[in-house]
């Protein structure tokens, strides 16, 4: 059974969004998503400075089975990307909620987070 954490919000498209102390939001994919994808071999990171809208495709994760788009869970500007994924994409498999984060954005409106699912609701949506 895939792991879900209570400290963050989730999109139905399997991204998590974690509000940090400095008001920025860190984004990655869920444990459930990485299990489905299998061994990741490549991550196409967004560009720092890129403006993204809620639901925009902004990154691609590629496993041996499939290449899948990552959609930004909220609107904002990309302020950091996890460059270490370029050499170690498997970090997403090993640590999806921590070392396997994909990008950080400065949200336009952090209240957009409220529109996302909490851990329980995400688990329910996955179980369906």
């Amino acid at each position: 059974m895939a792991n879900t954490l209570d400290d963050r919000k989730y999109a139905e498209s399997h991204e998590w969004a974690l509000l940090q102390d400095d008001g920025t939001i860190r984004v990655g994919i869920t444990d459930h998503a990485q299990e489905l994808l299998g061994d990741l071999v490549f991550v196409e990171l967004p560009e720092v400075g890129q403006a993204v809208g809620k639901g925009d495709e902004c990154s691609v994760v590629e496993s041996v089975k499939a290449a899948s788009d990552i959609y930004s869970p909220v609107s904002g500007e990309i302020i950091a990307v996890n460059d270490s994924l370029s050499d170690e994409p498997e970090m997403i498999n090993e640590s999806p909620y921590d070392d396997g984060w994909i990008f950080t954005l400065q949200p336009v409106d952090a209240s957009e987070l409220d529109e996302l699912l909490d851990a329980e609701a995400y688990d329910d949506s996955v179980a369906e």
Binding site: V41, F42, E44, E47, A66, A67, D69
Partner: protein
């Protein structure tokens, strides 16, 4: 059971099952105005004997003209072994096999082909081929727009010295994706891409610059300067090259400081005969960092569970059977048979053989151009150095001259450049590959002189 699908009885039963009266009723949704009534202009079938006779007669009408025509497709000598081996049953399939890994021989051949192309272009990777040179350039443009994520623009700088057919095909393929091709003029003196005109685009946001080598006029471009200009202006560079020329010229992977990003072109000079325009094949190579944006199939070498060498399709996750509408391209096939011929051609000739072909073609064209310039009324047009084509201005109606050469003397005299470059009136693009002899050149010159 005889293999006769859809007997009258079958059709009747199927229609009655779904409650429809006639097959015609299945097409009700298509408005009357869009239907083609009948196919009256299509003749009834012919027997094999009749078709063979018809095609033989048609082929005979072409005759065996003496060819001084290039302009994108070139008559090179193809050793007999090339097509003897290519048409062996084991190779004689022009398609990527569906159960790909079961066909280790085909995959190994494609892997060898990719290795040869990567070596010839000095690039990191090659795909297993595309349809032809023109569609390869279109795919390269689409790829550059995807790969240049620093650029917000969907604009491409396209020199007018790029093969006009390639430009038209590219336009047709990319325009519906809102990609704009912006023309760069050529220098009327040298025949090279005009660097002063190019400089006016400096600082503007473009996804990529296309660099032909040699260009459509046969002229050698200042590729180092062009590739460096692209880097300085934060665009990718796409080389569209004649692979034969690379046997002599600096490969695109070594242009400027770090080489170009994408190389594409027409593979016909490598073992494919001239045949009314095809089938030929396109090739594409790129830097490792762009490999996930490269369209087409890529074959990799690996080891199996027992540690034995094996070949496999690789990087499939970006292809359309997995990625659907988000695939890098809707290219799902390649020109396997032509690639087989090219691989055998390159294997038989080797780097030295290719170099000899390229050098002889260059020298023969030099000899042809100089010989024709001795005729009163024929002048060279460009000062730029050329590979194996030359541009000459005639003081007579060139359309009629080409027609007379072909009809009365069985000589394909060259390409009328005014068709694509209205400013180059009565201007002929000629080519003499390694297959032309001194006597051929003399014959052409004598006949042409008599027509002027």
């Amino acid at each position: 059971m005889p293999f006769i699908p859809h007997s009258e009885q079958d059709i009747k039963e199927m229609l009655s099952t779904i409650g429809v009266n006639s097959i015609e009723d299945l097409f009700d949704e298509i408005p009357e105005s869009l239907r083609c009534k009948d196919l009256a202009s299509i003749p009834t079938g012919l027997s094999e004997m009749d078709v063979t006779r018809l095609m033989r007669d048609r082929a005979a009408q072409d005759g065996l003209p003496l060819c001084f025509l290039g302009a994108g497709a070139y008559e090179h000598h193809i050793p007999a072994a090339v097509w003897e081996i290519t048409t062996r049953g084991e190779f004689y399939s022009a398609y990527t096999p569906y159960q790909a890994e079961a066909s280790q021989g085909t995959l190994q051949l494609l892997y060898e082909y990719q290795s040869m192309m990567a070596s010839l272009t000095a690039m990191d990777v090659s795909n297993a081929s595309l349809y032809d040179g023109a569609s390869a350039l279109a795919e390269a443009v689409l790829m550059a727009v995807r790969a240049n994520r620093k650029s917000k623009s969907k604009k491409i700088l396209m020199p007018r010295t790029v093969n006009p057919v390639y430009r038209k095909v590219t336009e047709a393929i990319v325009k519906n994706q809102a990609i704009e091709l912006v023309e760069v003029p050529y220098d009327p003196v040298t025949g090279q891409t005009d660097k002063v005109a190019l400089e006016k685009f400096s600082g503007e946001d473009f996804a990529a610059l296309v660099i032909p080598q040699p260009n459509f006029f046969g002229v050698i471009e200042d590729v180092d300067a062009l590739a460096q200009w692209a880097v300085d202006n934060k665009m990718l560079s796409i080389a569209v090259v004649n692979p034969m020329a690379l046997a002599l010229l600096k490969p695109p992977g070594e242009w400027a400081e770090d080489g170009v990003d994408i190389v594409c072109g027409e593979g016909q000079p490598l073992g494919a005969p001239l045949a009314s325009g095809g089938p030929y094949f396109g090739f594409m190579c790129c830097k490792q960092k762009h490999v996930r944006q490269m369209p087409g199939r890529i074959i990799g070498r690996t080891t199996d569970l027992d540690g034995k060498e094996g070949f496999t399709l690789t990087l499939q996750a970006r292809e359309q059977h997995i990625r659907r509408s988000k695939a890098t391209s809707n290219i799902c096939t390649n020109q396997g048979l032509l690639v087989t011929a090219a691989t055998i051609y390159m294997s038989l000739l080797g780097p030295e053989g290719l170099k000899k072909v390229a050098l002889n073609s260059h020298q023969n064209t030099q000899a042809l151009s100089q010989r024709l310039q001795k005729i009163k009324g024929i002048e060279p047009v460009f000062t730029g150095a050329s590979f194996h084509e030359s541009v000459l201005k005639l003081d007579t109606n060139i359309e009629i001259t080409i027609e007379k050469l072909a009809h009365d003397h069985h000589i394909l005299g060259g390409y009328d450049l005014a068709k694509d470059y209205p400013e180059l009136e009565n201007t002929l693009l000629v080519c003499a590959t390694e297959t032309r002899t001194t006597a051929d050149i003399e014959q052409y010159a004598t006949v042409l002189e008599s027509l002027l």
